[in-house]
Symmetry: C2
């Protein structure tokens, strides 16, 4: 979390007013640019939109990924918190898992190219780490509950499942023939233990 923390809201102390203003402007601008041009939009475009120089971006967000994390942080948080809630509110842990996966897929699919970036090799380790660190434990909890309830077979690791789901969401745009949800449903069905009478 170290890198991410540094770039979070942290309104605490001893920061110049213009710095705070710029940080906020950057978050807003980045969110807008990401929404229209996708997560791969050039840094310069975000800087221009926020009306600051590129240097300013790099001071606030040491690497591109830190900016992305900051922009989507609250959404990731919401997704993480939905896990335990769903588990508590749903009779079948498998159903809870299914709904939670739906939420996660919604999130990935809404952001153009987020999934791509998530798995990209180059320098997006911070992003990758943050998302996974935050969500894998939640997923694990759901998986464990479903195993305990005898609804799915044990042996699948949350990390692997999450990455698989993330991967399946890559390239969803630009091709109506490819709908990751159908495959993810297949995956979950494969997970399911056949009801033993």
């Amino acid at each position: 979390m170290s890198t991410a923390d540094r770039s979070a809201q942290a309104p605490t102390r001893s920061k110049r007013a213009d710095a705070l203003r710029n940080q906020q402007a950057l978050l807003t601008a980045a969110a807008e640019v990401f929404a229209t041009s996708g997560i791969d939009a050039p840094i310069r475009a975000i800087a221009a939109r926020a009306g600051v120089g590129v240097g300013t971006i790099y001071r606030h967000f040491p690497a591109r990924a830190d900016l992305v994390v900051a922009v989507y942080r609250h959404q990731v948080e919401a997704c993480a918190e939905a896990g335990p809630t769903l588990l508590a509110d749903t009779d079948s842990p498998l159903t809870a898992l299914r709904r939670w996966v739906d939420l996660f897929v919604d999130f990935l699919v809404t952001k153009h190219g987020l999934a791509n970036t998530l798995e990209s090799d180059s320098g997006f380790d911070a992003l990758h780490s943050y998302f996974l660190d935050r969500l894998v434990p939640v997923c694990a909890q759901l998986l464990d509950a479903a195993v305990d309830a005898g609804e799915i077979t044990p042996g699948t690791h949350a990390y692997e499942l999450m990455r698989g789901i993330g991967n399946l969401c890559i390239g969803r745009d630009s091709d109506p023939r490819y709908d990751p949800r159908r495959l993810i449903e297949l995956l979950l069905q494969g997970l399911q233990r056949p009801p033993s009478p």
Copy 2:
């Protein structure tokens, strides 16, 4: 196929000897560089290895993807041809499908970053098209056979399955916790029709 064809072996007529020599050298060099540095290796590296200028690469292979296609063409071909063979040699079409998918995964996983490139947005349409055009029909044949044999439920499209498998193979390196094969196995299990007694 248009783009791919142009850059294929086509030893036919009216090409200068040095051009042919260079084309061959480029294919060899590219194969070596791809093997060691991955599919994302800089064009310049390939040019250097082949002892030619970058201009020469672009004359023979108008875009990067054309070079990749040319390098892996025969392997894709082999995979495509394995489909019908497996189907003929195996009693259960589902088993044939499973083996064929294994072959495909082998291929993707062997080439560093091929899967990534396959799904990349930027300008790799030729690559994407070639692989999919060639292999989707083969996969469809296997799927159909398995459906006809009552081994899997109908409704899954070969294109979607292929892309899903391709996606799952992304980022396999660099993380022992992630093994795409396990997830692909899950996917196939999800496809399977429960034996109705």
